[in-house]
């Protein structure tokens, strides 16, 4: 019976997996966790180089506000050019 079932549910048991103080890189193949310094306004992913502006929901809870447009656009343009080049090579 439901009322007698006192073991942790899936949601309760997963609660311990919550991480505070970190954000994840938004690049799908990276998704690395980054721990910004308290109150900082920007962070760069040490793995893939994507740069982000930060917003602090609470002093313990940062979130990515958005990209640093000029940095990430340049990275994306380079990747796009590489992919175009690769597709040309592939079609030869």
């Amino acid at each position: 019976m439901a009322k007698e079932n006192e073991k942790f549910s899936v949601s309760e048991s997963l609660r311990k997996t919550r991480t505070f103080g970190k954000v994840r890189c938004h690049n799908p193949s990276c998704m690395g966790r980054m721990e910004p310094a308290a109150g900082s306004q920007q962070i760069t992913c040490p793995t893939c180089g994507m740069a982000y502006r930060l917003f602090w929901v609470t002093p313990e809870l940062p979130r990515i506000r958005g990209p640093v447009w000029e940095v990430n656009r340049k990275l994306a343009e380079n990747i796009r050019a590489q992919k175009l080049e690769a597709s040309k090579d592939g079609s030869k």
Binding site: A2, V10, L14, R18, L61, R80
Partner: protein, 646 residues
């Protein structure tokens, strides 16, 4: 007791009402809310009926847990055959209406017929009256609500109303309550308009006896703790749902310029944090508020800071208004987003649909498919804020050729505009897609393609798929309450195992829609939020009715199948671009051009997509055409439908 709440059948043509109890056998099979509404629609809508005819039943409900001690159970659901899609119509809103309806004695209303002149329903403590609404016709959604309160002499009356969009039979008109709570998809406000039904007003003081009140309160404390400590809900309580738009735009998942781009660059002025600054400046630091019985408070209050509507009070905007008046039309002004949000709430029209359709028209204008002749001289270009807002007025009042045509919805409009306009219409089953771009997220693409009310993110979207959760965590969530040992992948650009995620989420969302719980209180945006194993106690303590997690799953699956049966009866076929489970060709043919490096070049692989749909059907127990097999219907107790148990 929640079990005592009744169903009322109201015939607006004859003025007759009939009130019936809801048998326990029906509760056990369909629980309530959207699930029971689907049963009622399948049983009461004549096959092939015109959605705007008196025969189309409009069904209104609260959830089974609404107005009990269970947290965040304020949702109101509307269902009818959709005048936008010709298939299942379904819309869900927050606010305070459904609890009031429950206190007035009712969980479900089935409204048929058509009144001779504008009327509104007044439902209070078991009584139902039909009242004249001549003085309300033509008024905005908020004016209507305040006028009803004044007329009835009770400022606690809650009303679900239509605005001018519903009166003018805009096929994607909303039902509204409060300032911005919108039953806002598939045109349920249009169905109300077709019945000359301006509003449903309700007030109740009939107690709902809680089965085990102390245990219910104690359990709810744990529930609240689980919900309010989640990062996603802390963020929602600060920035509201726009935070999702901001995060999604960051990596390149936002539909921009109809479907030309997947990211709105330099959108800093309409980022959620910027909107939050405006709310803080115009209202104050405590500008977030919420629905009945909810602790998250995801709804911002604001005043429009500048422009012709400066100083007007509004609530929101939601994610969808940032898409509708920001990303899609490529307008970068917060004033435009907040003004657009205000206008759609006052007219009572679906922000998502109207933003998508205007953006589609903008692309057609830039391609020369429509010209100044059709727009009556309006420069309907992307980034033209004035033209965007002008089109909102024109559509809601059906002004001009284009306003009238676009008010009919995308597919009828494409037929009238002609040429190859349909190729650019981003829709599924006749309903526009959310302002997200799913080309880099196959699971989300499957979700929008197969959602029962047309393209939609609130039917089966596995949003947590974007979080790259470890497979062990995914397995814990998606392996209960029915075992699943098939593949699962943490990579959101993968196709493997995604069909199961979509299938699981579809049942999860149906379950909360039956109970009346807000989706922000389950596994939608947060992986650690309550789901199947948490609900039996909430149900038992509040209502006395016992369900196991698996039994709730079975109810959800049953209800999803009855929605499927309705859609199949009304013409759904698997590969039909108008009424099927498939996507616009641009998903398969045009790669993403912006966003994170890995997203650039992404598009949906046609063959892998077909396999995902096959798998999704298989999980459901449907054949390759998406039709439930005889064994599936028998297993779910649907083999004799329609059964007319109510």
């Amino acid at each position: 007791m929640a079990l005592d709440r009744k169903i009322a059948y109201i015939d607006l043509s004859t003025g007759k009402t009939e009130i019936k109890p809801i048998p326990l056998e029906v509760r056990k099979k369909f629980i309530g809310g959207r699930g029971l509404d689907a049963y009622l629609l399948y049983n009461n809508a004549p096959e092939g009926c015109d959605p705007l005819s008196p025969e189309n039943p409009l069904i209104v409900s609260g959830g089974f847990l609404t107005a009990t001690c269970a947290s965040a159970t304020a949702r109101t659901h509307f269902m009818a055959k959709s005048p936008l899609t010709g298939l299942l119509g379904s819309a869900n809103m927050g606010g305070f209406f459904a609890p009031e309806l429950a206190w007035a004695g009712f969980h479900h209303l089935v409204i048929t017929g058509k009144a001779e002149k504008p009327i509104y329903l007044w439902i209070h403590n078991g009584q139902i009256e039909i009242r004249d609404a001549a003085k309300l016709w033509g008024r905005t959604t908020t004016d209507t609500q305040w006028a009803i309160r004044d007329e009835l002499g009770d400022q606690e009356v809650k009303s679900a109303v239509i605005g001018q969009a519903g009166e003018n039979l805009v096929r994607y008109a909303n039902v509204m309550t409060g300032i911005k709570n919108a039953g806002g998809r598939t045109g349920m406000g249009c169905v109300m308009g077709s019945k000359n039904l301006k509003a449903i007003a309700t007030r109740g003081t009939m107690d709902i006896k809680i089965a085990h009140p102390l245990e219910a309160l104690e359990f709810n404390k744990k529930f609240i703790e689980q919900i309010t400590t989640a990062k996603v809900n802390k963020t929602q309580g600060t920035l509201g749902t726009p935070f999702i738009w901001g995060a999604t735009n960051s990596w390149g998942g936002i539909r921009t310029r109809n479907f030309q781009f997947n990211q709105m660059e330099n959108a800093d002025e309409i980022e959620p944090e910027a909107i939050d600054d405006i709310a803080t400046k115009t209202i104050g630091p405590h500008h977030m508020t919420g629905c009945f019985g909810c602790q998250v408070h995801c709804r911002a209050q604001y005043k429009i800071p500048s422009g012709p509507y400066a100083g007007k009070y509004g609530e929101g905007p939601e994610y969808t208004s940032l898409g509708a008046f920001g990303g899609e039309p490529d307008c970068k002004s917060a004033e435009t987003v907040l003004t657009g949000n205000h206008l759609v709430n006052q007219y009572g029209v679906d922000n998502l649909e109207i933003g998508s359709i205007i953006s589609w028209a903008m692309e057609l204008y830039e391609l020369g498919i429509i010209t100044n002749k059709e727009t009556d001289g309006l420069e309907l270009r992307f980034g033209n804020d004035e033209a965007l807002l002008e089109m909102v007025h024109r559509i809601c009042t059906r002004k001009g050729w284009l306003g009238d045509v676009l008010a009919e919805g995308g597919i009828p409009a494409a037929q009238k505009i002609g040429k190859n306009s349909f190729d650019y219409l981003i829709q599924v089953k006749g309903m526009s897609n959310l302002h997200s771009d799913e080309r880099g997220t196959p699971a989300l693409a499957l979700n929008v393609a197969t959602a029962s009310r047309g393209s939609d993110h609130l039917r089966s979207r596995p949003a947590i798929d974007l979080y790259h959760l470890p497979e062990s965590v995914l397995r814990k969530i998606y392996g209960s309450p029915v075992p699943y040992d098939g593949p699962l992948s943490s990579d959101h650009m993968e196709y493997i195992g995604k069909a199961w995620e979509v299938f699981w989420q579809e049942n999860c969302y149906m379950a909360v829609d039956c109970l009346g719980i807000c989706k922000y209180h389950t596994v939608f945006l947060g992986a650690t939020l309550p789901n199947f194993e948490d609900w039996p106690k909430a149900i038992y303590y509040n209502t006395g009715l016992e369900f196991t997690p698996k039994e709730i799953w079975d109810v959800a699956e049953r209800c999803n199948n009855i929605e499927r049966l309705f859609n199949l009866r009304e013409g759904l076929t698997r590969n039909d671009l108008v009424k099927g489970d498939t996507l616009n060709h641009r998903y398969f043919d045009e790669p993403c051009r912006r966003g994170a490096p890995d997203i650039i070049g992404a598009k949906i692989d046609r063959d892998k997509f077909k396999i995902m749909v096959d798998e999704f059907y298989k999980h459901h127990g449907w054949d390759n055409d998406g039709v439930p097999t005889a064994e599936t219907l028998k297993r779910l107790g649907l083999d004799k439908e329609p059964t007319h148990l109510l």
